[in-house]
Amino acid sequence: MSDVLAIHGARKVFGSTTALDGAELSLKRGEWLGLLGPNGAGKTTLVKSIAGRVRLDAGTMTLLGEPISGTARGDSDVRERLGVVPQDLALYPALTARENLEAFAALHGIDRSTRRDRVNWALDWTGLADRAREPVKRFSGGMKRRLNIACSILHEPEVILLDEPTVGVDPQSRQRIWEMLRLLQEGGASLLLTTHQLDEAQQVCERIVIIDHGRSIADGPFQELVEQTIGTSRRIQVEVDGETVFEQIDDVAAELPALLDRLRADGKPIGDIHVESPTLQAVFIHLTGRELRE
């Protein structure tokens, strides 16, 4: 798969704060990439620089094979193939869902003849067709989130940046949003997602990039990250004679039978055995530490 987005050596300094310090990132065509990092790691700065809202001090970016600068104006042609879903609910609350969609469709340059079809498609896609004529201020958080995404992809972008698209919504709405995004990916779009929902990122993202202190510190599919960080070590939870025993073993296939033999040799009855699977959260903490970030 070819890269639709590539960033090398991205550097950005705000006053005395270094937001990006040589960050690297690539997104392949049709891929769903998760960009993770603690607060202040540089995720939003990186996304904003791709969106043309932050001008890099150093580094290069290419979007769909064309070099892009940090400003939207100079790269307007190629950026028309980019969709940016902001973290804020950037909607007009007094306008209806349809009016919001129509407004952003017009601003994305969708001509009048196809605008109506695209808006109708978006209303169906978000499940808001029956609420199309209601002012957005009456919507629930989940409905607003869905509409927020829809307003950014009306022009059928090939690359979509999503900055925490599920923040503050209930599990049902989150599920619906993942389904919506899955449809976009199936339609050929490449997705770059930032999120703090690590369990969901683990499930939906094909590849993960972890960024900290403005630098990319891990990049790869989840299993690969697990191998790079936690390795084959697993925690085993065994119930022995009514008590739970924890054991850390490096190789489950080789060491688990030996562990069980040892426990059996003590003559105590063995109950449930549970091998704890590594999580993205464990990988994340392993890489970024437990120190609180403000």
Partner: protein
């Protein structure tokens, strides 16, 4: 608990420099402005200060020693700044002295609030205590209701100062003529005057209605005068509206409605524009501006769209205000010259106000800041520009200051259309008279929008 609340509130205020200034500096600024206006006004109309004297025109048609001495006495009044000819300019290095007509035109066009005309024959009746005194014509602009009575009073003072020798000479002559034993005729005149002096009988018009009975010369004049003219000191001031000759129907002509419609509408327009321009900051706070700028929309286009919308709102607001004035207060809006001038002024005023609002919004970091700053700036401009206090009550330097305000130019333009218009003027020359105001307001639009664009860079890529 209460102490903690107070402490937290103080910390909040202390760390918000704008709020701090609004709280403590604003009252001082306002006090200073109003003190300047009204302190200066006292000097201007009461004879207090030199530099803030009221500029008036004097035309001496009598050209006698007495009239010249009278002009000198008027000139010596500290509250008055007398001009007998237009100011010298490069185009007109030797201006001709004002004539009655040129003085009237000058007043009519707002060049001066008053013209004092000393008619031929002034010296013949000057200092005559029996007659009602020498006539002086006062051509005034009804837009300035204070200047006429003020100058009329000062003329009396000047008359007393002008020629004390003449007054003494005339007084003695009249005492000699009327002194001694009163004749039957004199007694009859005295009897005849008593009811008028006591206010028991209304005075009849001196010029319009002949006295009921033929009586002696001096007494006839006095008896025939109307109350205000019956005791008018040494000079009889004939107040003449600068526009009186143009009011064919004898009506009052344009009233102050036009002035206040213009003044109030411009001030409120600015407040409205600052209010609607706050939506720019709302866009930023809501995040929609961020999203808009990731679409095909550029910042320039965004600002242009906002400006157009605000300008339309502004134009609509002014139209409503003037139509209301026309319907409810008989403001003459519908004549072709007024309508054309109004349309031109309203378009540029609405445009300039919109760009001013946008500029303010781009300067401010929050809606709270915008609310505070716009209130201060607009109130100051309105005070200086004449929206709150008519400029004719201000001293001259304040009038000059008004030229640095949006309100000053907008108000001047509307006043030219509705107040200083010439009914006989062609549409083209009527519109030509407001070219300076249109030019300045259009230039202000460009400058404000340019500044707004510059300040809006903070919303673009950082």
């Amino acid at each position: 608990m209460i102490g903690t609340i107070c402490h937290v509130s103080w910390l909040n205020l202390k760390r918000d420099y704008v709020a701090l200034c609004l709280t403590f500096v604003l009252p001082i600024v306002f006090f200073s402005i109003f003190a300047s206006i009204f302190g200066g006004m006292g000097a201007a109309v009461g004879g207090g200060g030199g530099s803030s004297a009221m500029g008036i025109i004097v035309v001496d048609e009598d050209q006698t020693e007495i009239s010249r001495r009278f002009v000198e006495a008027v000139n010596s009044q500290e509250a008055l700044d007398v001009a007998e000819a237009p100011r010298r300019t490069d185009e007109n290095p030797h201006p001709e002295p004002f004539t009655r007509e040129s003085a009237r035109q000058h007043v009519r066009q707002g060049g001066a609030p008053i013209a004092v005309i000393i008619p031929a024959g002034f010296s013949e009746t000057f200092g005559n205590f029996v007659n009602s005194g020498a006539d002086v014509d006062l051509v005034y602009d009804a837009a300035n209701p204070i200047a006429q009575p003020t100058v009329a009073g000062l003329l009396q003072a000047a008359a007393f100062m002008a020629a004390p020798d003449i007054l003494m000479e005339n007084g003695l002559e009249q005492f000699d003529a009327a002194g001694g034993m009163l004749t039957d005729d004199q007694r009859a005149i005295m009897q005849q005057l008593k009811p008028f002096l006591r206010g028991e009988q209304p005075w009849s018009g001196k010029n319009d209605e002949p006295a009921d009975e033929p009586v002696g010369g001096a007494a006839t004049d006095v008896a025939g005068a109307s109350p205000p003219e019956a005791f008018q000191g040494l000079v009889v001031v004939n107040a003449i509206r600068a526009r009186a000759v143009e009011d064919e129907d004898g009506g009052e002509g344009p009233d102050m409605t036009a002035y206040y419609a213009a003044g109030i509408s411009v001030m409120f327009l600015l407040f409205s524009m600052a209010g609607v321009a706050g939506t720019l900051l709302e866009e930023e706070e809501r995040g929609t501006l961020e999203r808009l700028l990731t679409t095909k929309l550029g910042m320039g286009t965004f600002l242009a769209g906002q400006w157009l919308f605000f300008a339309l709102i502004g134009v609509l607001q002014i139209i409503l205000m003037f139509v209301w004035g026309a319907v409810m207060f008989d403001l003459d809006l519908w004549s072709p010259n007024h309508l054309a001038g109004f349309a031109a002024m309203t378009l540029v005023t609405g445009g300039a106000a919109a760009s001013f609002g946008i500029m303010l919004a781009t300067v401010c970091r929050s809606r709270a800041q915008l609310g505070g700053i716009s209130t201060v700036v607009i109130l100051i401009m309105s005070a200086l520009g004449g929206s709150m206090v008519p400029r004719f009550v201000m001293p001259e330097f304040m009038d000059t200051t008004a030229k640095f305000t949006f309100n000053g130019w907008a108000l001047d333009g509307y006043l030219k259309v509705f107040w200083y218009d010439d009914p006989g003027q062609s549409l083209a020359s009527s519109l030509a008279s407001i070219i300076p105001e249109i030019t300045v307001l259009a230039a202000a639009t460009v400058v404000f929008l340019g500044l707004a664009r510059l300040m809006a860079r903070r919303w673009e890529a950082i």
